[in-house]
Amino acid sequence: MKAQEVERDMELPVIEAIQQGDPYAMEELIRRQDRWVRGVIFGVLGRMDEVDDVSQRVWMQVWRQAKRLEDSANWRSWLYRIARNAATDTGRDKQRRKRLLANLFTGKPIKQHNDASPQNRLIANEQYQNMLDAIVSLPRLYREPFVLKHLQDFSYRQIAETLELPVDTVETRLVRARRLLRQKLAGKV
């Protein structure tokens, strides 16, 4: 927990340099925070097929909007909002397109693509695939804190701050996420 807080402070000069228009600082931030951003996007979308595109869009927005960030100490919430909104918009667009196509051509809903399997990273290990399927099948409510916890080892407080939720709610959601995951993985792992 302490390590995360120290890391947070260490990012401040990087954020300030980005605000000054330093491209090297931008690269540094991407190197350090890309996994977290992708985790947030995956938590919201619940599939891997568009994480690459959305994360690129997020970093472009960060680079363009960095000057508008007034309180650089709040960069984490700001970055989370950008990533969450980009992922939510993508999800909405995709759903809208699917609905339109379904109505236009067949009148029946189009069969869902198996989003659980990442397109660019083949997971040969069946256990990983089962786990990914189980995480993907979690409701977004539980998936978001679960991914933040397991990807970055955030504390309850940090997850609560990021998701703008009470700490108790975060804890409850993590308990339920583990319970659901256990049920889904019963006999598979």
């Binding site: 690269e27 994480v51 690129q56 995480i135 990807l151 804890e171 993985l185």
Partner: protein, 190 residues
């Protein structure tokens, strides 16, 4: 069967959120309950597999390069868009200017009194400057018919003739301008 309290404590332990008192409480529960121990082990296994899976799937080694590529692409696209917009705006400006110049009447509309003497007007209307426009002139409303105020407008028409000279292998263009007068009735409210 595991009670909720035990499950909560197991979760807190896994998340590193257990207080000292809670840690002692959980230790006692784990000693007493093999089910609780099994659950803790299962959750531990799931957690480590979940973390491993997420790291494997979500990490992207080429994030920086991808960003640089997208950024360069976006700059290129923006430059291209600006070029298109500039060209489009220039074309639009030229067209607007041409339309404006073409639509400006050479004379301002004038209000004339009722015409009783038609001789001059006849001359004006039946005196086309170009034979080619005789048919067009026939469509015009003769001024003598108009009772009441009327508006007179003059338009300049241009005819362009092309003549090919085989000796010099050149084409000569001749431009002939002529004026056409139109009269339209004007309604007025008093």
């Amino acid at each position: 069967m595991i009670d909720e309290r035990t499950e909560l404590l197991i979760n807190r332990k896994l998340d590193g959120e257990l207080s000292r008192a809670e840690s002692l409480e959980l230790d006692k529960l784990l000693i007493r309950s093999p089910e609780a121990r099994a659950l803790l082990e299962e959750y531990q296994g799931n957690d480590s597999l979940a973390a491993e899976t997420l790291h494997k799937v979500i990490s992207n080694e080429n994030a920086v390069n991808d960003f640089t590529a997208s950024w360069n692409q976006s700059i290129k696209t923006r430059k291209q868009r600006v070029r298109y917009l500039t060209t489009g705006a220039a074309i639009a400006a030229v067209i607007t200017l041409a339309v404006l110049i073409g639509s400006i009447p050479t004379d301002q509309p004038t209000q004339q009194p009722i015409v009783h003497n038609t001789t001059d007007m006849d001359n004006k209307i039946d005196e086309p400057s170009m034979v080619a426009h005789a048919a067009q002139n026939k469509k015009l409303t003769p001024l003598r018919v108009i009772e009441g105020p009327r508006r007179e407008q003059e338009r300049t028409l241009r005819d362009v003739f092309g003549v090919y000279d085989p000796q010099t292998k050149s084409v000569y263009f001749l431009e002939a301008n002529h004026t056409q007068t139109t009269a339209v009735p004007v309604s007025m409210n008093y």
